[in-house]
């Protein structure tokens, strides 16, 4: 026992933790050390590391808006895609700027999403009541990676051809798992056995429709939070957008030769490390290996909240209906939207509403206990009377 704690030993973090939790605790301290260094420069309320998810969302919206601008000039067809992008880059005012913003905001979004994931893993904010946000976040990360990859196809330059060949080879390697499945997938992707007039519209559909689906998973990502930090504070917002603009100004988007121009070797092409690493890796490894590694990493990430599981439901907030006045203070303060006010359920008819706790959403933090002036809600393992007795005992 470390010190008087109101929780069961297997739940309390800190010196009492053993095994996996102890290792996570060591990394947690490392993360907090980085925070502390940043807090010495920036006030803690504006620390960008406290708003990694908000920055990700901000850059996603920047990507979306710049993508809509690009889309108004884009023609998804095999013979006109390259020339429409070239027109946007060279003729349209700020056209190359919009392309650069679209690319670097997407890169930044991916970096921030990865940092957001690691930070939430290492600070133990990924399991228990946070399993749904974690799993939907992994889906969002995989979708972001795939949407970014398909974005490079749409330009339909030399690099797009190399990426298409790489994707087809990876898809066809699936024939080894289920006979014919890989070929079917490759045909569905291209709209035929080889690149034809149907290929570019399909690639564009993959890019844009999946981008719309992100909102569905974002909704799942936020649904367990009462007031999700969707937007970072103004300082961090300006810092993020400024970084994207500086990157776009310093390093404009390159124009590569068109797909029908013969090129000496594909290795001369620049590849985006964040979205095109599988294509680069294909130069050294087999498609099956890359797919296998991706599948295993994704599977581990998906089941991470249950490896090992955090004990739940032992300390869920409990309402004493006789004391509840239906004042809604606990429901308003709950950061996880776990308390609903049920009309007509209060044993005292004058009070009408009764606070009811949703066990699955409850984080067992007890913020509702601090909110309730009427002694109507309590954590069973840290009852307020027990706390008072402990305070008195410690001070005597």
């Amino acid at each position: 026992m470390a010190s008087p704690s109101m929780r069961s030993p297997d739940q309390a973090p800190g010196p009492g933790a053993r095994g996996f939790d102890a290792a996570l605790d060591v990394i947690h301290r490392g993360v907090v050390t980085i925070d502390k260094a940043i807090n010495k420069i920036i006030p803690e309320e504006f620390n960008p590391f406290y708003y990694l998810g908000g920055v990700t969302n901000l850059l996603w919206v920047v990507t979306l808006l710049s993508g809509i601008v690009i889309w108004t000039y884009y023609t998804p067809s095999e013979d006109q895609a390259y020339s429409s992008v070239k027109y946007l880059t060279e003729v349209v005012p700020f056209g190359s700027m919009f392309r650069a913003i679209h690319r670097y905001a997407a890169d930044g979004m991916f970096i921030m999403a990865i940092l957001h994931m690691f930070r939430n893993y290492f600070t133990d904010r990924y399991r228990g009541f946070r399993d749904l946000p974690w799993v939907s976040g992994i889906v969002l990360l995989l979708m972001t990676g795939f949407i970014g990859l398909t974005g490079y196809l749409l330009v339909w330059d030399q690099r797009a051809v190399v990426i298409t060949e790489a994707m087809i080879s990876v898809m066809k390697s699936l024939d080894g798992v289920i006979a014919g499945f890989g070929t079917w997938l490759a045909r569905a992707f291209l709209g035929g056995d080889a690149v034809n007039s149907m290929s570019l519209p399909r690639m564009f559909f993959l890019h844009a429709s999946l981008a719309g689906t992100i909102f569905f998973f974002l909704w799942m990502h936020y649904i367990r939070l009462h007031r999700p930090k969707i937007w970072p504070p103004a300082f961090v917002t300006l810092l993020s957008i400024g970084a994207v603009l500086v990157a776009a100004g310093l390093s404009p988007v390159e124009t590569l030769p068109a797909s029908n121009v013969a090129l000496a070797s594909g290795s001369q092409l620049p590849f985006d490390i964040f979205f095109l690493w599988p294509v680069v890796a294909l130069g050294s490894f087999s498609p099956a290996l890359i797919l296998g590694v991706l599948a295993i990493v994704s599977a581990v990430l998906f089941v991470a909240p249950w490896l090992p599981k955090r004990p739940r439901y032992a300390n869920v907030a409990t309402v004493t209906p006789e004391n509840c006045t239906g004042c809604q203070l606990c429901a308003v303060d709950c950061p996880f939207d776990a308390i609903v006010m049920v009309a007509g359920a209060n044993p005292n008819p004058r009070n009408n509403e009764l606070a009811v706790v949703n066990d699955d959403k409850c984080a067992e933090c007890g913020i509702c206990v601090g909110a309730c002036p009427f002694h109507a809600i309590n954590l069973p393992m840290a009852h307020e009377d027990a706390i008072k007795d402990k305070v008195v005992a410690l001070l005597s």
Binding site: P4, P15, T33, D35, Y50, A371, V391
Partner: protein, 238 residues
């Protein structure tokens, strides 16, 4: 001082001697509560006059527990949470920050405490051990410079189980419980002006302390470094 009143303020004898004032802390389990700066009996290592209790989140703190601690002899109470913006439960430290901002004013108006600085907030991450010790040292010095605080217990011990514990309602009877003895009120303050009628800005305790021993108070404050600003929220040294 007379024994007839339940509450009284006088010059702190502890400041003169080496005895440290009793301080109580509520620690968030996820910030420094994770670490081993705390003895098994709940006191802070190296500062045994500070007793602590771990709670699941700083937002879990019911403000009335601060009052319970003050009633039981604590001269100062602090709440430790994660750095603002980094609460494990997203909002707990912002919520307790707002609650305490409200409650401090109420306690001063109800004359539970003489100055808002007696209830402090610390927001520290799990590695901020040196900041923690330094802040607690400053807090101890600050509290030692204040006159001793004795808070009347609110009725019987079982009473808080009812609605009466709501601190928002300052019933005259409750306020009267912390009235300084009539003899101690200086002549400058009209006797007819009962503490209930005193505007909120006039804190009772400094007045009585001055009345009891003005010279001694000044001397004490000078020795303790005369805390000018009210330490409500501690910031780590930049």
């Amino acid at each position: 001082m007379t024994a007839t009143t339940t509450t009284t303020s006088k010059t702190n004898p502890m400041a003169a001697s080496n005895k440290k004032p009793k301080i109580f802390g509520f620690l968030c389990e996820w910030s420094l509560g994770r670490t081993d700066y705390i003895n098994p009996d709940g006191s802070v290592k190296g500062m045994e006059h500070i007793k602590t209790l771990k709670i699941p989140c700083s937002g879990f703190l019911k403000p009335e527990w601060v009052r319970v601690a003050l009633e039981n002899g604590a001269q100062g109470v602090f709440v430790l949470g994660c750095p603002l913006g980094d609460c494990h439960f997203n909002e707990g430290n912002f919520i307790i920050n707002e609650r305490l901002e409200q409650e401090r004013g109420r306690w001063v108006r109800q004359k539970v405490i003489d100055t808002e600085g007696r209830v402090a907030e610390l927001y520290l991450g799990a590695t901020a051990g040196s900041d923690f010790n330094q802040m607690l040292q400053e807090f101890t010095d600050y509290i030692a410079g204040l006159p001793e605080l004795v808070v009347a217990k609110k009725g019987a011990k079982a009473a808080p189980a009812t609605k009466a514990a709501t601190p928002a309602v300052a019933a005259p009877a409750k306020a009267a419980a912390v009235v300084p003895p009539a003899a101690a009120v200086p002549a400058a303050v009209p006797a007819a002006l009962s503490p209930v009628a005193i505007p909120a800005v006039i804190a009772a305790a400094p007045v009585t302390a001055k009345a009891a021993a003005p010279a001694a108070t000044k001397a004490d404050a000078g020795e303790a470094g005369a805390p000018k600003k009210q330490f409500k929220r501690w910031e780590p040294k930049k």
